[in-house]
């Protein structure tokens, strides 16, 4: 204790002054007082600062001996792994990079996750050196210490760049003793609101610039000589250290911890908290979680686990077939993944390969990966049984602070690379090193050339280019490297640029076009060059050109960009064109208004107009649409642009189409009705046409259209149609009933109220009474509550009344009103019990203890509505959790646990996905078991609000009508906020309806979901969850196996239709049938025995399932069925030829429905598995539709 309370130093500087004596006594007294206070404070803290989650027996802590760990590492066939370095040579490595001498610089932080008050930050930079060349580091030098949670390290410019919390530092050793003696702050103002989101992944780009990432919770505000640069949330920074030019290169991703450049300068990122594998990163690419983004790009591997660190395979040591593959770390599941990339259109396809390394050692946490100068792979193993940042206590003693390893993976029987001597090499030798296949060598050589400067380098470089062998297969790559050297030394070489712009290799051309962008303003004829590049025969060159045009800042640039539409488009081209048109809007909009033919061709005009958020030009878009000049693939976009920005005249046009006979849109009237409804919701605008014209559609033959028309009448508040609506409220179709009642309440007013009250009288049908009462809640809540009690009292037992509670429970006033009414009279015990169940499910957690909620619970209990005691207690002490955990380890049956997980009643799959398939309201659980300790999983289930993953924060929106919407934030732009609610629905709220948007704590997941489980079921469930991600049955295979299915349920008439039309019927008329979601098991198998059976007249028992394939580039794809026994399948309406298990299908771009009929007798109980594969010699690109 004495050690902790440091007595204040009491050493006044000299004491000759007489007047000091009084002060000394004063200080002495004050110091004594302080000491006393501190002792008290310390004692108090000893009792209060006990971590919330008391420490238990340090479960699941593996043996720390490196040899033991080494023995547990399984490496792919043909490889071997050895220990390069371990503690005490380094601890807690986070990032590593090589210098030109071939030494490995590693940054480590024992301070992470949080500095303790009174402790000095002592984090270090280690330089590891293998001086003997035996593949083991024999020397570790501490280059610098005293750092505060450094998260990035990159040697260069005579020292090293280091991420040091709010600062980007450059450290230098000026006296050659191996230790930094000069420390300068290069930039500051980086966010630190979350220390596992700090700036990270320092990399040299091919252009000699420094690139680095940051993540979602951190907001950075960096002052540079060129102005302030802000990045709120995730993204990539791009810095030219010599001048301090700093830009945001890419925006978004949740925790982008991984960045790498390929041979031609193309770049990719990984996300430590996302789930889409590799992300293709080009300038201004925008990904998920970008604040304000209206549109984001997807990753290349949806449904992948989270990854940290990224390296591209290059060089002569690793297998040639791996060249250009990307290696990254699934740090949660203790394994190293590999992805092969293929070019596809303007982007890439990424295909997962077999793991490079895997282990059951839970402290193995690969966080960074790099190819060394010898060509071997080096892995930084952060070494920690605990990886969770916020979810596990910062002071949890299971967090390892003392270990850290670098592993080295080599190929057996294959020579290592002999790296050239770069330090001290002359300029010619350095330039020759740019011809070598190893990325490491070229990158280091380029750095040295950059440091030497233009004066020394360019004369030699000129000659070097001149002497290059034009016949060399890599000639154009050498030229590209030369171009980058020019860029790095800041010399413009237009000759070389134009040579590369007409290179044979499209990669060289794409790199050259990007250079136009960097050199714009300093080179001539940019417009001409870009005009040619936009018309290039390769889509990636076109992509770079469309991006480069943004800097031109004139209408002509927009015009040129739109010419890209003259060739095949794909998702990336569409995205960059959309972005360019928007960025250039200020430069073309006025010219367009003056000349609506500015862009010439209507398709181009339509693209431009639908891309911008501009009220003035919508009329032109509508006109093109009316004239049927808008390409069909833009139709939906046109309607949504009209809803968002159209004026009355534009809405009139849509109205006329909606009620007219000619429909341009393939979905016809329905699409127009929705657009008009949306316009009212977003802009409070409606057409000023005669609304009578809508009415005939309300009882048309097509129910969906009729409901659309009814909704519109409600949205428009068309009071004169109340009587028609009242009739429709008695319709046979319940959906129509609900729509009509909804419209009546939306119209509001006393007349609506009276109509609804009449519908609640005892003479009315039970269902109508219930529905009408529920809708009354929006009029007068007390009256509605009074009526509700009456209805609840005399409705027959067989009618399910649970929906009646919902409108009251959803708002505090309603809850209170219902409680007050219920206090006065009683309802049946069964009904009260139902009410309690609804409350348990639907009441948001933060309202549980509110007065109104407590009052309603008491009132329901007074009516006998007590719920049976929880089978599985939901309030557990730490001791009980420990006991449970021990039982889980010894007795849990994960197979049984998976069945429990899949139960509909538990609703796990409604909100959580496995391998990308399932609900999106909560995080994907694919590697939960390998990332979270079991006690955390237990706590997360019983108290979900204490455990919220980033990206799943709750947002609360207060509408200006007084209502509140709560959900996770999907998108927040200048025009709307889109939330995902607990039912996993997207809700869009227009900004003009919003008072306040707040981020609040808590989870969408209701507590108590597992209370109905038996204890052994709970144990099995946790047993299953804690196995997720571990090697074996509970790790999702990496190939594209269908996981998201819909299954056909029998409803009235289904059997008749099937008997009449045959098995083919569900494939043809699918929309009129009742399908529900189901998912494959973790293994990828769909358990056929769980599927509902439809008994046909022929006596056959059939189950129908279907799944969706999204085709990005059309062509032939292949589907591999694990069995064809009793299986018939259709692609759309066309039956597949299932003679073999592998069937090829020709698909056009877009989403395709594949339906499978399973004859249960012929098929048996065997699980079904379907895998999507690339067909031989096909350029098609397809993915499975994931999500809910």
């Amino acid at each position: 204790m004495v050690n902790i309370i440091l007595l204040p130093e009491f050493k006044p500087f000299g004491s000759t002054k007489k007047n000091r004596e009084g002060r000394l006594i004063f200080y002495a007294f004050r110091n004594v007082l302080h000491t006393i206070c501190k002792v008290i404070l310390f004692i108090a803290m000893t009792f209060t600062a006990v971590p919330l989650y008391a420490q238990d027996n340090l479960r699941s802590i593996p043996e720390t001996d490196p040899q033991h760990q080494l023995e547990m590492l399984h490496v792919a066939e043909g490889f071997e792994v050895n220990l390069f370095a371990s503690e005490p040579m380094l601890v807690k490595p986070i990032q590593m990079n090589w210098d030109a001498e071939g030494r490995l610089w590693v940054i480590g932080s024992a301070t992470y996750p949080q500095l303790k008050p009174g402790e000095e930050p002592e984090d270090k930079i280690y330089i590891l050196d293998d001086t003997t060349g035996d593949g083991k580091a024999d020397k570790s030098t501490v280059f610098a210490d005293g750092l505060l949670m450094p998260t990035g390290i990159l040697p260069g410019d005579g020292g090293a760049y280091v991420a040091n919390s709010t600062e980007l530092l450059h450290l230098k050793d000026t006296n050659g003793d191996g230790k930094a003696d000069e420390r300068s702050v290069v930039l500051n103002g980086f966010g630190t609101a979350d220390t596992h989101h700090l700036i990270n992944s320092f990399k040299w780009g091919p252009d000699g610039k420094l690139y680095f990432n940051q993540a979602i919770y951190n907001h950075s505000n960096v002052e540079t000589p060129f102005g302030l640069r802000r990045l709120e949330g995730g993204g990539v920074w791009q810095l030219r250290p010599e001048t301090l030019e700093l830009e945001v290169f890419v925006r978004g991703l949740i925790n982008p911890w991984g960045l790498q450049f390929g041979r031609w300068g193309e770049s990719f990122m990984t996300d430590g908290a996302g789930g889409e594998g590799l992300n293709y990163a080009f300038p201004e690419a925008t990904f998920t979680a970008t604040p304000g983004a209206e549109r984001v790009l997807k990753g290349l591997n949806p449904g992948q686990p989270k990854h940290a660190g990224l390296e591209v395979v290059s060089g002569r040591h690793l297998p040639g077939s791996w060249e250009g593959d990307y290696i990254t770390n699934d740090y949660r599941a203790n394994r190293i993944n590999r992805f092969a990339l293929e070019e596809q259109g303007s982007g890439y396809v990424s295909i997962q390969q077999e793991d490079l390394l895997w282990t059951d050692h839970v402290a193995f946490r690969p966080v960074d990966v790099t190819v060394g100068p010898d060509g071997a792979l080096y892995i930084a193993d952060w070494y920690n049984p605990i990886i969770q940042h916020g979810e596990v206590d910062f002071r949890d003693s299971r967090r390892d602070k003392n270990h850290g390893r670098i592993w080295r993976i080599t190929m057996k029987d294959r020579p290592l690379v002999e790296p050239p001597q770069l330090v001290g090499a002359d300029t010619q030798e350095l330039l020759n090193a740019l011809k070598l296949p190893e990325n490491w060598t070229r990158s280091q050589a380029k750095q040295i050339l950059k440091e030497r400067g233009a004066k020394e380098v360019t004369p030699v470089l000129e000659e070097w280019i001149e002497n290059l062998n034009r016949e060399d297969l890599d000639y154009e790559h050498h030229l590209t490297e030369a171009l980058w050297v020019y860029q790095a030394v800041n010399v413009i070489n237009e000759d070389l640029l134009s040579k590369l712009l007409s290179a044979k290799n499209h990669n060289a051309r794409a790199a050259a076009v990007r250079m136009i962008n960097y050199w714009h303003g300093t080179i001539e004829n940019v417009t001409t060059l870009l005009r040619e590049a936009v018309a290039d025969k390769h889509p990636r060159v076109r992509l770079e050109a469309v991006i480069a045009l943004r800097n031109q800042q004139n209408a002509e640039a927009a015009n040129i960009a739109l010419t890209v539409l003259e060739q095949t488009m794909d998702e990336y081209l569409d995205f960059v064109l959309w972005q360019t048109i928007r960025e250039l809007e200020p430069y073309w909009i006025e010219e367009f208004k003056a000349d609506p033919n500015l862009f010439g061709e209507p398709g181009k005009t339509a693209f431009a107009l639908k891309s911008v958020s501009n009220t003035d030009v919508i009329k032109h878009l509508v006109k093109l649409y009316e004239n049927n000049q808008v390409p069909i693939e833009y139709h939906d976009d046109v309607l949504s642009a009209v809803s968002a920005w159209g004026g009355i005249a534009d809405l009139n046009s849509i109205f006329d189409l909606a009620v007219g006979d000619v429909q341009i849109h393939e979905n016809g009237r329905n699409a127009y009705f929705s657009a008009l409804e949306e316009a009212m919701r977003r802009q409070r605008k409606k057409p000023d046409r005669d609304l009578n014209q809508i009415v005939p559609f309300t009882d048309g033959e097509d129910v969906a259209t009729a409901i659309g028309a009814v909704d519109l009448l409600g949205t428009w508040g068309a009071g004169e149609y109340r009587s028609q609506l009242a009739i429709l409220a008695r319709d046979d179709n319940e959906l129509m009933q609900k729509a009509a009642l909804g419209a009546l309440s939306a119209i509001g007013g006393d007349e609506s109220r009276e109509i609804l009250i009449n519908m609640t009288s005892t003479t009315q049908p039970d269902k109508l009474r219930l529905l009408a009462t529920a809708h009354l809640a929006s009029f007068n809540i007390s009256e509605a509550a009074r009526i509700a009690i009456t209805v609840l009292q005399d409705i027959p037992e067989h009618v399910n009344v649970s929906d009646l509670f919902t409108p009251f429970i959803s708002q505090a006033e309603g809850t209170r009103a219902l409680a007050e009414e219920l206090m006065k009279s009683e309802i049946q015990a069964e009904v009260a019990q139902l009410g309690m169940q609804v409350m348990q499910r639907q009441l948001p957690w933060h309202r549980h203890d509110d007065d109104d909620a407590v009052a309603l619970k008491q009132a329901l209990e007074a009516s006998g509505g007590t719920l049976p005691p929880d089978r599985m207690p939901q309030e557990l002490s730490d001791e009980e959790i420990n006991t449970l955990e021990r039982e889980i380890r010894t007795t849990a049956d994960p197979a049984r646990g998976e069945k429990i997980y899949r139960r509909n009643a538990l609703m796990c799959m409604n909100c959580h996905a496995l391998g990308g398939a399932g609900g999106l309201a909560g995080p994907d659980l694919s590697s939960l078991g390998t990332s979270a300790p079991t006690d955390n999983i237990i706590r997360a289930l019983i108290a979900p609000n204490l455990n919220v993953k980033e990206g799943y924060e709750l947002t609360q929106v207060f509408r200006n009508d007084g209502s509140v919407v709560m959900g996770t934030n999907i998108r927040q732009t200048s025009s709307e906020v889109v939330l995902r609610n607990a039912a996993d629905q997207e809700i869009s709220i227009s900004q003009n309806q919003i008072d306040v948007v707040e981020t609040v704590s808590g989870s969408l997941m209701p507590p108590g979901l597992t209370s109905r489980l038996e204890r052994d079921e709970f144990i099995d469930l946790i047993g299953f969850l804690s196995k997720l991600g571990e090697p074996g049955d509970y790790r999702g295979p990496s190939n594209r196996i269908v996981r998201r299915w819909q299954v056909l349920n029998e409803t009235q008439g289904t059997v008749e239709m099937l008997n009449e039309h045959g098995l083919f019927y569900p494939a043809r008329d699918s929309e009129n049938l009742n399908w529900s979601q189901t998912y494959s098991k973790v293994s990828g198998n769909l358990p056929v025995e769980e599927l509902p059976v439809i008994k046909l007249g022929s006596g056959k028992n059939i189950s129908f399932v279907r799944f969706e394939v999204e085709v990005l580039d059309e062509g032939k794809i292949s589907l591999l069925f694990n069995t064809t026994d009793g299986i018939v399948a259709w692609n759309g309406e066309e039956e597949l030829n299932l003679l073999s298990q592998n069937v090829n299908v020709d698909l056009s771009t877009g989403i395709h429905q594949l339906t499978v009929a399973i004859d249960r007798e012929l098929h048996g109980e065997k699980a079904l598995q379907v895998e999507l594969k690339d067909a031989d010699n096909s350029s098609a690109r397809a993915r499975l539709v994931m999500g809910k």
């Binding site: 500087f13 000299g14 949080q114 008050p117 505060l148 002052e223 709120e232 940042h389 916020g390």
Partner: protein, 418 residues
Amino acid sequence: MVKYHFRLFSFIYLTCITLLLNETFVSETDENTAPQKSYQPHFELKDGDRVVFLGNSLMEKDLKHGYLEVALTSRWPNQDITFRNLGWSGDTVFGDARSYFTNPPSAYGHLVNQLNEAQPTVVFIAYGANEASEGEAGIPGFSKGLNQLLTVIEDLEAKAILLSPVPHFTKNDSDVKQSQLQNENLKRYSEAISETALERDVRFINLFHSLIEIGKKFDITTNGIHLNETGYYFLSSIIETGLGLPSREWSAQVDVSDFTTWAKGATISDVKKDKDTGNIQFSIDDHYLPYPLPAHEQITQNREIKMTGLNKGSYSLTVDGEYFITATSSEWSEGVKISNEPSYNQANHLRDLIVKKNELYFHKYRPQNRTYLLGFRSHEQGHNAVELNQFDSLIQKAEDQIANYRMPNTNNYKLIRQ
């Protein structure tokens, strides 16, 4: 010929920049502060005052130099005055840089909360550098924001002092145009701040012109926009001058023939002559500690000792028993400039303590992992937020140590005949 044997550093005696400041640049500063001067002639800090430095990087970066705080701490060494630096890189009058993932509080809400929690009595405000890139068009919004901020400070019953932005310096030739453009904007914003100051009767200190002049002679920025150590050295003296505080320089004179003394800026006493050796002893009390000297520029402040009536010969000076300098009697009679006597060590030490204290306060008010400790994920780590309060006692301890070092000591000088 004077031989300088500096004890700690060996550098060439260069210039007396503070004098330069007083004579050359203050006229311009005076011009700009003139309207205020009539209302607020004396700036004074009192026991119990809490000074807050609020603004963008100009303030934040002083955390590591400590100059502003050294200047004001040593000015009133008998008073307990405490300081909190709330400077934030990239910040504006709307607190834009203080945003977190979570809202509320808004970025501005954070700024106001931070001010409230710091309980200021005096606030130095340095904004405008980031806003200036908006040019002329941004001025009305900026002034509105500044006024709103001044009202917040008034409501806290604290006194505000407005600083202008610092100029933009070119680090390489290609930036000249960018730099000129930016300086025009910065000047406009300086004027806007000055107008607001005048309207609201708040003291304003124009750093812009003085630093431009100093920048012609010294390298005062790290990157063209952020001051380096030398820059902060000059900044604190401009601010002191702008506050109307007298110079820290002193000169002391002893006439050995009759022991009469004269001193300005210090007190000289106890002059004695050793009859046997002829050595002269005297004591000097500095009124204020000097500024610590920047490491990378050869700058001294004007501290001069003049000894008249000495017998011809060469005399060495010791300070508190340590040899310092040797000069001839005629040079002594002209006056010898001295630097790096023990009071500089003390000033440096004071500065180190202040920098350490600043670091502790930084961890307290702008903690890492704010999201988990105080923000919307505090349900996970909020129990660890108690650790933040533990910084209070560490800061208090650091302030106690600062108090022990801020009072200049009496130095005993001895002139020894060689």
